[in-house]
Every structure is written in C-alpha cells, then in structure tokens.
C-alpha cells in the first residue's frame, strides 16, 4: 500500500505547490496592479494618512489639511477661498480622483514622488511619518481676485499670463465650486448636486472649455497677413470692397456690424472698428493652409499642451473656403480656450515670441529644499518683432479710440481686441463676449489677459466684448501692474 501512499504524497505536494505558485503570482507578479487597483481603498487611505503638501500662491498656502481621524482617513483636504482657486487647485477628495494641480502634482503633494525618496528614507529612519511636498504656483493673488470678483455671478472665465515668461497669473472660472465641500468621505450628495448642475460649476472654463473666439481672432488673422507677406504693416490699405461676399457662395455677404466705413481701410482701422469684411477677405486670400500655419504657431491644434494641468486643444481645422473666411473672424469651426486667446495677446505683447504657459514655479520638498524650478521656455515665434510691434500699435489704437476703450488705464499702454461670438443654431444662443489685451510697462509687457463671458443676454452686438469683458481685463491688468511696482 506504500506506492499509492507515495503518489498521494506527490498529489498533496502539488496542491501546496499550486498554492505557492498562485501566491507568487498575486503577491509578486500582479502585486502593483492589485495594489493600485482603482477599487483598492488603500490608495486613498495612504493618501490621507498624513497631511498633504500644500499649493502655494504668493507665499501663502491656499490649501490645508485638517485632522479628522475618521475610520478610514486621518486627514481631510480643506481650501481657503475654494471657489476662487478651484480652477487652479482642483480637488483632492477622499473618494473621487484628484483634479487640476492636486491631480497633476499628486505625487509631490503626497510625498510619493521619486525625487522625495531621500527625504522619505530619512523620515523613515528618524521615525517621522511621510510628508508631502509643496507646489509653488506662478499665480498672482491680486490678479486672481480681480478676475474672480470681476466675473461675479456671470458665467465665464479669465486667463492672464506674463508674456515675458509664460507664467500664468490668473485663472478664474465661474460659476465655481468650493472643493472643501466635496473633499470628505461622505460628500456624495454634494458631489452629485455639483455634477447635475447644468451650469457645470466644476468645469474649468479657462483651460477646459473652448469657445468660438469671435473678433478677438482677428489679431491672429492680422498676424497671418503680415507673416505671409500679404501686407507689410497694419497701415497698408487692404483693398477690400465695401460689400464683400464669401468665396464659393452665391453672393452670400459678410456684413459688418459697425457703421464705420470698412472699404479699403488699413488693418489698424479694421481692428479698431472690428471690420468683418476686411479680415474675412484676408483669411480667404491667404487660404486655409496659411491660416492654419499661423494659428498653429500661436498654439492652436496642439494636442498636448500642459501647464502642467492638461489644456483642452484649441482648434483651427481644415475647412472649405467660405468656412475658412468665416474662421478668419473667429466665427466658424475654429474654437479657442480663454488661455489660448491670452497666449495670442501675450505673443503679440512679447514682440512676437510666445512663451510656454505654466503655473507651477517650484516644487518644494517638506524640508523646504527646492527640488524643481521651472525655467521659462520659448514655445514658438508666430510674428517677427517688427510685425508684432506694428500689430501692438494697432491693438493699442483699439483701446485708445476703438471698441476697447473700457480697458484704458491711465499712464499705461494697453492694447486689446474685443469680440462677440455668435453661437447656437442660427446664432440663437446668447453671444460670448470676449476681450483680450495686454499692458506694457517699462520693461516689456508684464501681463496679457483673455476674458470670456457666456450668455450676456443684454447685448448682442459687437460692443458686448468691450462693455462686459474689457473692464474685467482692465482690473486684472491693474492688479498685476500694482503688485509688480
């Protein structure tokens, strides 16, 4: 009977070996995958087992961690001035995935980043818990406040940049939400309410929503005209007729909404009074290809723009001739984020050099050592300096004596462009009011800003941008100029 007993012994051995093999499969081969599984609550538990690092603006933290000592989570994220900073900070919740800077810089904030390895090891040896690092932003608190207050209870967004470096100075979006209210473990109702809100308070309109840019896009069209040699400067006569019709159509006219004369005017005058016919014709004359080329240089159609939060792609697509002509006045299939339009203003203001926008200046270890400093980077050169300065003078005319007078700041050179974008079926939706501008001080331009306001029911004409959006832009620029003195 010993032979079968030995065989049974082998069988039992195989059973145990199978268990061992399975265990190696689970705890070695698939360990990371299981550990970081989206259903694995340990990820969240670890995230909130120590205070999270902070997001810092102008030397002050706009985030904090509160000790709550719940069953699962020891700490909870809190936000100072949550709604104002939400487009920057995003949300770090005990339940939902982190967003914006909280999401992108999560590893620094939790202390898991590889660059914090040394700190972690030291803390482990000395018996201190793991600590998160801080994210120091480029934002300007005063400018952000001006932007957020300016938008008030209107629906819209503001993006402001330092054209010289690409630093993002303000990033506001309304209606907003307070991330503090949905940071806890039991905030499902508040979360659901925010998600069901048809005004989409959790949408970061400054980075993640694209709008038809309307007449503000004429700045890009003007730049394209000069860059592709159609006109040498903004003061050349454009040879455009009084009534210009769209190409390849049975005489569909492109009307001007301004009573001012638009026939054969210079680009300066055309920008000043926002002549549709002039820029429609320029776009048509250049053709789709060349327009795309210039738009791309300003940052359109780029798939992976991150600041380091991902930015939704602004587009200037391939299109037929009439549509391309309409796109030249920002009224066709081209769409832009507020940040993109701020980049357009910034590139012009910075003498044709577009700096890559960014909003994280430094990453700082818990022991205050700086582990990464962002160096400003040139993104492209959409304009030669001469053409840029020519375009600047035209944009300054717009503010001095054109549609953008509301943005005038005494003692400072301000250039801008208004826009009112129609949308909806047969343009039935309330138009989007746009304003893009920059201000110049002694050493170049310290601020460029784009403002968009959705659904301004009161004004449907082209002046809306100047009336509604320009004052906000003015306040933001003033705030930046004041803090930089």
């Amino acid at each position: 009977m010993n032979k079968p007993v030995r065989r049974i012994a082998i069988f039992c051995g195989i059973l145990i070996l199978a268990l061992m093999a399975r265990d190696n499969w689970l705890q070695f081969v698939r360990a990371d995958e299981l550990k970081n599984n989206k259903h694995n609550m340990r990820v969240q538990i670890a995230r909130y087992s120590q205070p999270r690092g902070n997001i810092i603006v102008d030397g002050k933290a706009v985030t904090d961690s509160k000790e709550v000592n719940g069953i699962n989570y020891k700490y909870k994220r809190t936000y100072t001035n949550g709604p104002m900073w939400a487009p920057v900070t995003g949300l770090s919740s005990q339940v939902y995935s982190p967003t914006m800077l909280e999401g992108v810089e999560d590893k620094i904030l939790t202390g898991d980043d590889d660059r914090l390895f040394f700190n972690r090891t030291i803390d482990m040896i000395t018996g201190k818990g793991k600590k998160g690092g801080d994210v120091i932003t480029t934002l300007n608190a005063k400018a952000q406040e001006a932007a957020f207050k300016g938008l008030g209870d209107k629906k819209g967004a503001v993006a402001a940049l330092d054209p010289r470096t690409g630093k993002i100075l303000a990033l506001a979006s309304t209606p907003s939400y307070d991330p503090s209210t949905i940071a806890g473990a039991n905030d499902g109702d508040a979360w659901k309410k925010l998600n069901d809100d048809k005004n989409k308070p959790m949408l970061n309109r400054a980075l993640r929503e694209t709008y038809p840019p309307g007449s503000t896009f004429k700045v890009v069209t003007a730049a394209a005209a000069m860059e592709h040699g159609l006109y040498g400067n903004v003061d050349e006569k454009t040879n455009s007729p009084k009534k210009w019709t769209l190409p390849d159509t049975q005489g569909v006219p492109l009307p001007n909404e301004t009573p001012m004369p638009c026939d054969n005017v210079s680009m300066r005058a055309a920008l000043q009074w926002s002549c549709n016919s002039v820029f429609g014709k320029i776009s048509a004359d250049l053709g789709n290809q060349k327009m795309i080329e210039t738009a791309n240089k300003f940052g359109f159609n780029s798939d992976d723009l991150t600041v380091p939060v991902g930015v939704t792609k602004s587009v200037y697509p391939k299109d037929n001739r009439p549509q391309n002509a309409m796109a030249g006045i920002g009224q066709a299939s081209n769409r832009a984020t507020p940040l993109q339009m701020a980049m357009v203003a910034a590139a012009v203001a910075n003498n044709g050099k577009l700096m890559e926008p960014y909003m994280v200046d430094k990453l700082r270890a818990p022991n205050l050592n700086v582990i990464e400093t962002h160096q400003p980077k040139e993104m492209s050169r959409p304009l030669t300096p001469e053409h840029a300065q020519s375009l600047q003078s035209a944009m300054e005319t717009v503010v001095e004596e054109g549609t953008g007078t509301a943005a005038k700041i005494s003692g400072v050179k301000v250039g801008g462009k208004t826009g009112t974008a129609q949308h909806g079926v047969d343009n039935s939706g309330n138009p989007y009011a746009w304003f893009i501008s920059y201000a110049k001080s002694g050493d170049g331009s310290p601020v460029a800003v784009a403002v968009v306001i959705e659904g301004s029911d009161t004004m449907r004409d082209d002046i809306a941008g100047g009336k509604l959006a320009a004052p906000i832009a003015k306040n933001v620029m003033e705030a930046v100029l004041k803090t930089q003195k």
């Binding site: 009977m1 145990i16 705890q27 360990a31 609550m41 699962n72």
Partner: protein
C-alpha cells in the same frame, strides 16, 4: 530493480526496525519553545504597531500558549513517546499565529464599527484550550488507534448525523453548515465529520479492499470495477452532491469526496478509481453549478472578480481579498499595519490568510503554506510508517483531507479556485475547526507513535534450544 542497487533509502522510515527510533521528545521541546516564542513576538509587534506599546495581555497570552503547548508535550512524553516530533510544534505555531491575527483584527476600528462585530480572540483562546484538552484526551484514552476500527459502522452513523443535521438549521450567509445550540453558540459539524468519516472509510475499505481491487475487468488499460462494487463510491458521491445541494456547501462536499477517492485509491491501488473520482466530481460540480444560484455566483466571482464590483457580494469579496494580497507585496506591511479589515465580513475566518498576505507579505504566506505542507508531509510519513493497513488508511485519509482543505480554502481566498466557505485549519477563527483539527493531529500522533515504537522484543522460544540440527 537491479540486483546491485542498494535498498532505497526511504525504507529507513517504512520498515520497522526492532531497535526502534529515538523518541525525539527533546527535539520536540526545543521546536515547541520556538513555536511559542514566535507568536509572542508577533503579538508584541501588533501591539507596538497599533498602540505604540506592548499589549497588556502579552504575559497572559504568552503563558497561556506556553501552558497549552507544555501540557500537550508532557502528555506526549507519557502517552505517545515515539510519536512524530514535528506535528505538535507545527500545529502550535499555527494556532498561536492564528490567535494573534484574530486579536489584531479585533483591534480594527473598521470592523468594530460594523454591527456584527464581537471580539473573538478570547473565545478563540478558550477554544484552543478545548482543542488541546481533546488532544490530550485522545492521547490518553485512545490506547491504540486500531480500537477505532471496531467503530466502523457506528462512525458511519455518527458522520451521517453530523452531516445531515445542519440541514435543519437556517442557512447562514448562504450556506447551511452550522448547527445552533441555544446558549452555547454554533457548531460546524462538518469539521468533526471529517475525522469520523475517515475512521469509517478506513474501516470499511480495509475489509472491502480485496474485493474492490481484484474483482474487476480490464478495459483500455484500466481495471473497471464491477457494477456492485461501484456501490460505495456512488453512494458517497451521491451523498456529497446532496450536501452540496441542500447545504450549498461546495467545500465540505469536495473535501469528503476527495478524501474518499484518496483512501479508495490507497486501499485498492487501482488508478481507475482516481479517474472515476475525478470524472464524477467534475460531473457533480458542473451539474450543481448549472442550477444552484449560490454556487453559480461563486464561480462567476472566481472567473472575473473585478467584473462584479458593486453588483455581486461574492465578486467584491474575492476582489477585496486579491487586492489585500497584492497590497502586501513581497515583504508585507508588517504586523498591524495593513488594511486587511477592508474585506469586512469573514476577515478573521474564511479570509484570514489575506491578513497574513498583506501584513507578512509573500514571504509570510509561503512560510504558512510550508508549515501546512510539513504537517501533511508528516501525516503521509506516518501513513508510510504505519504497520497496519487500518492505520495507513486512516493516516493518509486524515492528511489527504487536511491537504485538500488547505487547498480549497487558500485556493479559494487567492482566487485559484471558486471560493467555498471553509476555515483555514488552526489559524481561522472558529471553535469547531480548531478543536477538530487538534483531535486530528492527536490521532495522527497516536498512529505515528505506534509506527515508530520499537517492536516488542521477540519472546524467547523455550523450544528453540531443542530444535538443533542433529548430526547423524
């Protein structure tokens, strides 16, 4: 075997030498000391990790475990002097670690917040003491394991009662495997039935093995049993299926049928029985799974644990267990620092291995599996060494059942096979399980004692002198 090859070295353990084996009781004592100290360190570790100080129950726990192990050892010295020296330390270390894990899970705030929570460590210590008491009783009162052979058919009756009785009690968490005694608590009779059935099978097969082995026809290289000899295996099979259907307990049914096939194979040395057994269990499992909802859910959960997240309790449990294992990685989080309590329900019973996985890591689980493997190996050794067929059958049946149980539970928790509600021997929370397994070890020790005991010196034959060759 060629003539020049030496005798295989395994014979050393299987043939009986009149000189006998060294008793190895001192080895056992040394190992036992380790087996007590190890859980004590683990206990201290949990306390330090959770509260930053040595747990207050430390001394009591250490002394309690030491006392239990010591009593077991002393009784062995007296009543099972030549028994295997490894089994008691192995069982002690598992039981000790199990107590620590159960205590550790008692401290979980998450589990304390649930309505069903009741601290289990103290009770488990009590059950362990009862287990040792039964262990001691078996060693003392079971003079010779062959006495059990007399109770073959009584064992059958007892096993039937034990197995059938849970059907009359309400189902708990989808399975009817408990009987409830008001005021005393619940008993899982299946754990005891495992031993009683092994006794019945051993006694029955010993008598019938010749008939089963020899009266058969050869067909395609296999010996097919006669129709009437198929009776017993069919009966056991049918009975297992009944358990599966009425008690919805896949584990117990698999365990009993597996144990029977193993013992049948050892008794008859006919591979055909294994083939029949596998075919029949496959047919039974597939058949029942196709209409039994409870079993079906478990199979679905096994096939894709994460697919049923938020929809099926069974899937979620398995998925949580898998994530618990994965989160432990190779080295584990360390005692008291894991979150295996996220599994929630049954974290300290069916799923207790997951806590080992998370807190002690791959290394810890491998060690635990090795200890189980060693227990089985010692059991099989005992079967090889046993001098009587009944002892052989009983020992291989018990160790086979033990191995199958470990495989079914651990495999279920680790997602290797569909999960069935069974307990990890010695570690998991549950009185019946720990008591029955101590009895199982006691019986194995008794058989091993008989096998390793020096044979009585041959009685001097007074006639020997007289039968000398008479020279012509």
């Amino acid at each position: 075997m060629s003539a020049i090859s030496p005798m295989p070295n395994t014979t050393a353990t299987t043939t009986v030498s009149t000189a006998g084996q060294p008793s190895r009781r001192n080895t056992e004592l040394l190992l036992l000391a380790f087996a007590v100290i190890l859980p004590c360190f683990a206990y201290a570790n949990v306390g330090l990790a959770l509260d930053g100080e040595m747990p207050s129950g430390m001394l009591g726990y250490g002394m309690g475990l030491g006392l239990l192990a010591g009593v077991g050892h002393l009784v062995m010295r007296k009543f099972a002097k030549y028994a295997d020296p490894l089994l008691l330390p192995l069982a002690t270390v598992l039981n000790g670690l199990g107590l620590v894990i159960i205590w550790r899970l008692d401290q979980s705030k998450r589990l304390q917040a649930s309505k069903a929570f009741a601290p289990a460590a103290t009770n488990q210590l009590l059950f362990s003491a009862l287990g040792i008491a039964l262990f001691v009783a078996v060693l003392i009162f079971l003079k010779d394991h062959r006495i059990l052979q007399r109770y073959t058919y009584i064992s059958m009756a007892v096993a039937l009662v034990l197995l059938i009785s849970p059907m009359f009690f309400p189902s708990v968490y989808g399975a009817r495997i408990w009987i409830k005694i008001p005021g005393l608590g619940t008993i899982q009779p299946g754990e005891f039935a495992k031993i009683v059935l092994a006794v019945f099978f051993a006694g029955y097969l010993m008598v019938k093995r010749d008939a089963l082995a020899l009266a058969s026809r050869r067909f395609m290289g296999m010996y097919l049993p006669r129709g009437r000899d198929l009776g017993p295996i069919l009966a056991v099979w049918a009975f297992s299926i009944l358990i599966l259907v009425f008690e919805t307990d896949l584990g117990t049914s698999l365990l009993f049928f597996g144990m029977f096939v193993v013992m049948l194979y050892v008794a008859t040395e006919r591979t055909s029985w294994i083939v029949f057994g596998l075919l029949m269990s496959a047919a039974g499992a597939v058949g029942v799974a196709s209409f039994e909802h409870h079993v079906q859910a478990r199979v679905d959960a096994w096939l894709d644990p994460f697919a049923g997240w938020g929809k099926s309790q069974a899937s979620e449990q398995i998925a949580k267990a898998l994530m618990t294992f994965g989160s432990g990685g190779v080295a584990g989080t360390g005692w008291g620092q894991g979150n295996s309590d996220l599994i929630g329900f049954a974290a300290n019973s069916d799923f207790i291995l997951a806590t080992v996985g998370e807190e002690l890591g791959l290394a810890g689980v491998m060690a635990i599996l090795l200890i189980y493997g060693l227990i089985v190996e010692r059991g099989v050794r005992t079967a090889l060494a046993a001098r009587d067929p009944f002892g052989k059958l009983l020992a291989i049946g018990l160790s086979g059942a033990f191995a199958i149980q470990v495989f079914v539970v651990a495999g279920g928790v680790m997602g290797l096979i569909p999960l069935t509600g069974m307990t990890m021997p010695f570690i998991a929370q549950g009185g019946s399980s720990v008591i029955a397994n101590w009895a199982l070890v006691a019986i194995l020790l008794k058989i091993s004692d008989a096998a390793r005991r020096p044979a009585p010196a041959p009685v001097t034959n007074p006639d020997a002198e007289m039968t000398q060759v008479v020279r012509p």
